[in-house]
Amino acid sequence: MNEEVSSAEAIPVPGRAAAVPSANRRSERRLGWMLCAPAAVVMLAVTGWPIVYSVLLSLQRFDLRFPARKAWIGVDNYTTVLGSSFWWNAFAVTVLVTVVSVAVELVLGMVIALVMYRTIVGRGLVRAVVLIPYGIVTVAAAYGWKYAWTPGTGFLARLLPAGAAPLTDHFPAIGIIILAEIWKTTPFMALLLMAGLALVPEDTLKAASTDGATAWQRFTKITLPLMKPAILAALLFRTLDAFRIFDDIFVLTNGAQNTSSVSLIAYHNLIGGLNLGIGSTMSVLIFLAVALIAFVFVKVLGTSTPDAGRR
């Protein structure tokens, strides 16, 4: 924040910078701060307070069914959750779904992005068609998948041997969840990557091709390295999204056969179990995990957000 402010200050305002006394400029800056203060305060209140409140809840024994036994219990809820096999199972499922779906989406998304970028005829139509899955409400799409895999009603279930009910077994169910996730969000990945493709100068590609580089060499040696910022940004967005997966699992299995994700298990404890303490603890842990993912992407891998491209 401070850095941005000082750099903005350093840019001389053309024609005025030298003439206007600095006291005037300072008062203008104060006015600017005051003008955006109300918005900043509201933002802090609506985003900051719920976070603080769930941290406070996570330090209490707070079960709506036992209002009389509410008490501050320190980090007991954290030991309970971190010592629970249900939580770690949900964590493993979430990581599995995140890693597999994001990896597949990256490859598929890249192919689709290249197709969309290079299409000459009917470019608008191709792009619109690719975006359809992303435009469908996730819950509606998830119901579509659910019925498709339900024996007796589904066209996909009919392809399986008689009596198979894939949504009632652990690994087939996770496979279907991943499939639904990939189908749904690959277009989003493709869109982000297509924006990255636009960063690659045509001249460089033409020069490489004149020097005898094959299409594959041009892709791996020129396109990919130049696209790296866009790829990392796309991966960051999708990883954060996938880690918080809720709606697909809620509709497809609702966590049966150990297919809960961390968000779903938090929901079950908070809303189904009425246990505000344990549920909030899980929410805080999810928040920390998401923060960690973002930190790794930004600090370790050097992802930059599109508007911070001045590094």
């Binding site: 024994r61 079960d63 709506l64 069914r65 036992f66 209002p67 036994r69 007991d76 309970t80 959750v81 629970s84 249900f86 939580w87 199972n89 949900a90 009596g163 009910a165 009632t168 966590g255 049966a256 056969q257 150990n258 809960s260 298990i265 079950h268 404890n269 809303i271 189904g272 179990g273 009425l274 246990n275 303490g277 344990i278």
Partner: protein, 424 residues
């Protein structure tokens, strides 16, 4: 955005606003009008039931303006029903008056202070003539928190052409299945073995049949003595015998019904709704479709007790009207309608002998007998947790490892009682 600022856009926006205001005011006026005319609107939230509108209609006519029941239908799944009710009660929603509750929710809602205790005249009327089993499901710590509406028990339903003498024990059922298998006849016995509440219902009745309990009667301690070990051994043996359907670990009540109707299963442990279904869908099999008491360990067992009760919300603004409405909704005539139209067994004994019941309930004597020994599920505010974690540990039944499963169950249920339990 640009359009809204144009001269033409502004009046259009204002007109829309005016229309919205008019609609809102009309709604308010309607709400006030019903209050002014003296008719108190009582909002009933009930599980889907076809004839509930007719039942409420009769009550509204007989109330002569003292109250007017408006029927609101909850989702079909029991978990979804509970979720909607508790979420609104936790938010102190005054739009709920009478609540249709599953028998396992009484302790939870009473302990949280979300439903009112029934006292005096209302309590007297709610318990008059009511069978003791159903009444106990509406009671928590010696106080009445709901009025029993209907009850239910599971029975053994069997094909008399395959099993002329129905066994009275689980061991007997396994033997009968082995004999049928050797003769090359349908031999599957259908039980609710899927990972859901029904699996816990099965376990609970086996523990009770072996003479034990899952929880102490006050719901504060885990018991699960040697009888629980017997129950777990019985479940494991059944699931690994010729009696077990290969899809036992996916079988819920409706799958069990379908298996017997299709001729795949020789018998099933199920609620009485299977009789009406058989009469409609397989009238040819109906003559051979008989019932017997719930099987036990050494003799007849203790059947699971189900049903629904009516409670009055703490946040209802008109509790007196709500209590009166609830009493009418569960009076003998309402229970008779629910029994004959919707197949819900009455909670008041006299209704079993009312006109029309002989045809709809040929098994009524068996139901009444089973109700005398039926085993209610553990009474505890944390039943939801106890049930969920138990179902996870008991599934699939053929993988039960009695002493180890018991140790793990005990730990999980103890944590659930301390609200330390984590739900999967």
């Amino acid at each position: 955005m640009g359009r809204a600022l144009s001269p033409a856009g502004a009046p259009a926006g204002r007109r829309a606003m005016a229309a919205l205001t008019a609609v809102l005011t009309a709604g308010l006026a309607a709400a006030c009008a019903s209050g002014a005319s003296g008719t108190r609107v009582v909002n009933l939230y009930n599980a889907p039931q076809e004839s509930i509108g007719a039942i409420a209609g009769r009550c509204n006519r007989e109330a002569h303006g003292r109250y007017r029941i408006v029927v609101n239908t909850l989702p079909r799944g029991a978990d979804d029903q509970r979720e909607q009710l508790v979420r609104r009660l936790a938010a102190r929603d005054s739009g709920l008056d009478v609540l249709g509750l599953d028998v396992t929710w009484t302790a939870e809602l009473a302990e949280a202070g979300w439903i009112r205790e029934w006292t005096g005249r209302y309590a007297q009327e709610a318990s008059k003539g009511t069978l003791p089993g159903p009444l106990s499901t509406a009671t928590w710590q010696g106080r009445l928190y709901a009025a029993p509406y209907n009850t239910n028990v599971q029975l053994l339903w069997y094909r008399s052409d395959l099993m002329p003498d129905p066994p009275s024990t689980w061991a007997g059922l396994i033997q009968a299945s082995e004999r049928l298998a050797a003769e090359g006849k349908p031999h599957y016995g259908e039980v609710t073995g899927a990972q859901f509440e029904g699996l816990v219902v099965w376990f609970n009745s086996l523990v009770a049949s072996a003479g034990g309990r899952i929880l102490s009667p006050d719901g504060r301690r885990v018991e699960l003595g040697p009888s629980a070990l017997t129950a777990l051994r019985t479940m494991r043996r059944f699931a690994r015998s010729k009696a077990a359907d290969p899809s036992i670990s996916n079988t819920k009540e409706d799958d069990a019904r379908l298996a017997v109707e299709s001729g795949r299963g020789a018998y099933e442990i199920n609620w009485p709704f299977v009789y009406a279904s058989m009469a409609t869908l397989q009238p040819k099999l109906l003559k051979k479709f008989k019932w017997a008491p719930y099987p036990g360990i050494t003799g007849p067992g203790r059947a699971p007790l189900g049903g629904a009760n009516f409670a009055v919300s703490r946040y209802s603004a008109k509790p007196d009207a709500a209590f009166q409405a609830a009493l009418c909704l569960r009076d003998p005539e309402s229970q008779r309608t629910a029994a004959i139209q919707d197949g819900l067994p009455p909670a008041v004994e006299s209704v079993y002998w009312a006109p029309g019941m002989a045809k709809a309930y040929p098994m009524r004597q068996a139901i009444l007998d089973s109700l005398k020994t039926a085993a209610a599920r553990p009474m505890t505010p944390t039943y939801q947790n106890v049930s969920t974690v138990s179902a996870v540990r008991l599934s699939p039944p053929k993988s039960i490892d009695p002493p180890r499963t018991l140790r793990s169950l005990r730990g999980l249920i103890e944590d659930a009682l301390q609200s330390k339990g984590v739900l999967p």
